[in-house]
């Protein structure tokens, strides 16, 4: 059995999001496996970013359940926790994201995200961006500013640790030389990399990337592929990404979910999805009756 069914970190059930009369996401179910790179694809307007915003708490879904299980055992408690009406299990291994505001999803459930239109702190330096991402860690280290104001050594140790983490990610995204430059001064591709590094500095368990390859040239896309694979293989986290660049999606994804008009039309490994006639129909826009012919033409 595939990992997303046997051990999902994220399970989305009956997710529906309505904006007035518009149904952006309609009764959507899917899972993302622990340690997998899961891609969410679909034509423009399929509702991908809406799903992202529901998972990260920027939207409150109209209906449905979004469960994040930080280990396999806690999934068994899902229905009990749901019945209690609380936001998650007391041991902080299971969270019901649809009940939590965005800040808590990032802070407690450890879900980090990037944005389709890059959102860096432009007037702050590259290094500062990475330090801001470690806000909650540094807040604790600074004794909620009291210890930090007094300049005690415990805070200095915390800062040193945060700086080390920032340097590690600066090295990974090849921005060490530009650490003291303002983030707005970076070229576009570097800004994309910095945004991912910033999300990683928050030490997430689930990393959500909204079109990370948009606007990158082919070489940069290839670098991004290697970088995402490096993250998956060397860090204990799962990645959920929205992407239009099929080169990226097919190469690095372990699992692909295809959306169209807010509904899931296909779900499986890259090979399964690539040959699914419904996916081809959704992307190329043909009648159901013609799917077979189109499919033959493509594979020929």
């Amino acid at each position: 059995m595939s990992r997303w069914l046997s051990d999902p970190i994220l399970s989305v059930e009956h997710l529906t999001m309505r904006f007035g009369g518009l149904i952006a996401v309609d009764d959507l179910d899917f899972q993302a496996g622990r340690g997998d790179i899961t891609a969410l694809i679909g034509p423009n307007g399929a509702g991908k970013t809406t799903v992202f915003n529901c998972i990260t708490g920027f939207y409150k879904p109209t209906e449905g359940r979004i469960a994040l299980a930080l280990n396999a055992e806690s999934r068994g408690k899902l229905d009990d926790v749901t019945a209690t009406g609380r936001r998650g299990a007391a041991d902080r291994n299971l969270f019901l994201l649809e009940r939590m505001p965005d800040v808590e999803i990032a802070q407690r459930a450890r879900v980090a995200r990037t944005f389709q239109n890059i959102r860096l702190f432009g007037g702050m330096t590259v290094l500062e961006n990475l330090m801001v991402a470690q806000h909650n860690f540094l807040m604790k280290a600074s004794g909620y500013s009291v210890r930090g104001l007094l300049g005690l050594s415990a805070y200095r140790a915390g800062v040193a640790e945060a700086l080390d983490r920032a340097k590690y990610w600066l090295d990974r995204v090849e921005l060490t030389d530009r650490a003291d430059d303002p983030a707005s001064d970076l070229p576009y591709g570097a800004q994309r990399r910095l945004e991912i590094a910033r999300a990683m500095c928050a030490e997430p368990k689930l990393l959500c990337l909204d079109e990370p390859a948009a606007g990158l040239n082919p070489r940069e896309s290839a670098d991004l592929n290697r970088f995402l694979q490096f993250i998956r293989d060397n860090h204990d986290l799962s990645i959920l990404l929205i992407e239009h660049d099929m080169g990226v999606v097919m190469e690095i994804s372990d699992h692909i979910v295809v959306l169209d008009y807010g509904e899931r039309i296909s779900d499986g490994s890259p090979e399964q999805v690539r040959t699914d006639p419904r996916v081809i129909a959704a992307y190329l826009g043909v009648e159901d009756a013609e799917v077979d012919t189109v499919e033959q033409e493509i594979s020929a």
Binding site: P43, N44, T56, F58, D102, V103, E104, A106, Q107, A112, R113, F115, R119, L120, F121, G122, G123, M124, T125, L127, E128, M131, V132, A133, Q134, H135, N136, L138, M139, S142, S145, G148, L149, G151, K167, L170, T176, A179, D180, P182, P187, Y188, G189, R198, A199, E211, A213, A214, G215, L216, N217, P218, S221, H244, D245, M246, G247, I280, Y283, L284
Partner: protein, 488 residues
């Protein structure tokens, strides 16, 4: 598949280098002379100018020859043609020389526009060492100001030290507001409310409970901070103009409550005989037991003013120390991140509610300190001292100094508060404009114009650069153009 075109969905972005090309294109188009000539060397330029002037002169000759050079004179029975070649020569010479000079000195190719030229001439770029020296010099002047004044202006010493106290009060208020507006990017038009809360808290505590200044001061600061949080809660969801209006209303509410709550605040009459702080128990009074008597020196009223000056100087240093320290702590960095992008902050798990509330509370606390000091210095307070004009003045100090810049606020407070007082001494202008002219009446007009010019010259304030809170190799300033202004 259909969507596999790389970069196809990023129409809003441009490749790096596109901007540089644009700039080059703009630079090439700037300051074109009427004729497109691109001389390479000076001789070429001169030759081209002479050639151009000669062409102009020939054209002038062709026109002026018949029009000026030939004149018909009525003669007997017929018309005689009179020839006047001297005026023609003069006209041609004027055109030749004029064109030559214009071409050589005015119509320079690629001459930047006058505004840009002025700006580049006026932009002061100081090396970091000079910046530190300037800060040190400002500190030393501040530290010894009362004695400098006593030494150099004994006749005006009281007036000038008092002015120094006033400027320091505004520097403190500016620094307090800077946390809210400059760092957190939350536009607050009702900052004077916290100044008022601090002043009334101190006055009421001192009058009713008889607590000393040094105990009442932190209490008043804490009360102001509480009111900062009280204001913060309802405005958490508001941004930009809406936030500004609500804070403005908050300032007015506080003032109206002070006017109407007669039992507590004594209404528009205000509170008087507010106790003065003592120097370790020594009062600044003549006679035995006073400060002068204890130290065996002659009693002078200015001793108390100098004492006030140093209390406030210490308070301001404390304010600055705390603010600079907070900027390097996670909470300060979160303020600035909030100003840059609130949504990104939330995606990183930064509690924006707490961050905003701490900014309001700490900014309000410093305002409360300044208010307590104001109450004890004046010995009398009334709601009239806390109207909207005060809020606007403090905000003007912060904006003129450069949002977020501590030293910029010092400079702009000295300029704004000191300048407006110093403009009282422009009586000498009467000598120029005649006795019927009273220059002091135009004080505010002159002052307003000066502010307009400064803002045109430096749209982001006097000190527009931002100093990063942490660095890896070297601390480089960030240009003000990149720094966000906050949208609420």
């Amino acid at each position: 598949m259909a969507n596999s075109v790389p970069g196809g969905s990023a129409l809003d972005t441009r490749p790096p280098g596109a901007e540089i090309e644009d700039e080059n294109r703009d630079a090439a188009m700037a300051g074109e002379p009427p004729f497109k000539i691109h001389p390479t060397a000076k001789q070429d330029q001169l030759a081209a100018a002479i050639k151009e002037a000669a062409i102009a002169a020939v054209v002038t000759l062709a026109l002026a020859g018949p029009l000026i050079g030939l004149k018909t004179e009525p003669a007997i029975g017929t018309l005689a043609l009179e020839q006047r070649w001297l005026p023609v020569a003069v006209a041609v010479a004027i055109v030749f020389v004029g064109r030559l000079l214009l071409r050589l000195f005015v119509w320079r190719p690629r001459m930047p526009g006058p505004a840009a030229a002025w700006r580049s001439r006026l932009t002061v770029t100081l090396p970091p060492v000079t910046g530190r020296l300037a800060v040190g010099a400002l500190f030393l002047v501040g530290l010894f100001l009362p004695f400098l004044v006593l030494g150099f202006f004994p006749a005006h010493s009281r007036q000038y030290v008092d002015l120094g106290v006033l400027i320091l009060t505004y520097i403190m208020l500016g620094w307090g507001l800077n946390i809210v507006v400059g760092l957190a990017g939350l536009l607050d038009l009702g900052y004077v409310a916290f100044y008022a809360v601090g002043a009334y808290s101190y006055a009421l505590i001192a009058l009713h409970f008889g607590w000393s200044f040094w105990i009442s001061l932190p209490v008043a600061g804490l009360l102001a901070a509480l009111w900062g949080i009280a204001l913060g809660f309802p405005v958490l969801r508001l941004r930009g103009d809406y936030l500004a209006i609500v804070t403005l209303a908050f300032g007015e509410i506080i003032r109206l409550v002070l006017i109407n709550w007669q039992e507590l605040t004594n209404g528009p009459v205000g509170l008087s005989r507010i106790p003065r702080p003592s120097f370790f128990g020594l009062e600044f009074t003549p006679g035995p037991g006073g400060f002068a008597d204890y130290f065996g020196i002659e009693y002078k009223p200015i001793q108390r003013i100098i004492f006030f000056y140093y209390i406030l100087f210490a308070l301001a240093l404390f304010t600055n120390f705390v603010t600079m320290r907070l900027r390097r702590l996670p909470v300060g960095r979160a303020w600035e991140a909030l100003r840059e992008d609130e949504i990104a902050c939330r995606s990183l798990g930064i509690n924006t509610t707490n961050t905003k509330l701490t900014a309001f509370a700490i900014g309000a606390m410093f305002g409360g300190f300044a208010g307590s000091f104001f109450a004890t210095r004046q010995g009398f307070i009334s709601p009239e001292s806390f109207n909207f004009t005060e809020s606007a003045t403090i905000l003007a100090i912060v904006v003129l100094g450069g949002l977020g810049s501590q030293i910029g606020i010092v400079i702009s407070a000295v300029f704004l508060i000191g300048g407006i007082e110093m403009l009282r001494n422009i009586g000498f202008l009467t000598a120029i404009f005649g006795p019927g002219f009273d220059p002091t009446q135009y004080r505010l007009l002159i002052f307003g114009l000066a502010i307009v010019f400064i803002m045109v010259w430096r749209p982001r304030g006097l000190i527009a650069t931002r100093l990063p809170s942490v660095f890896l190799k070297e601390r480089r300033t960030v240009s003000g153009e990149l720094v966000g202004e906050g949208r609420g």
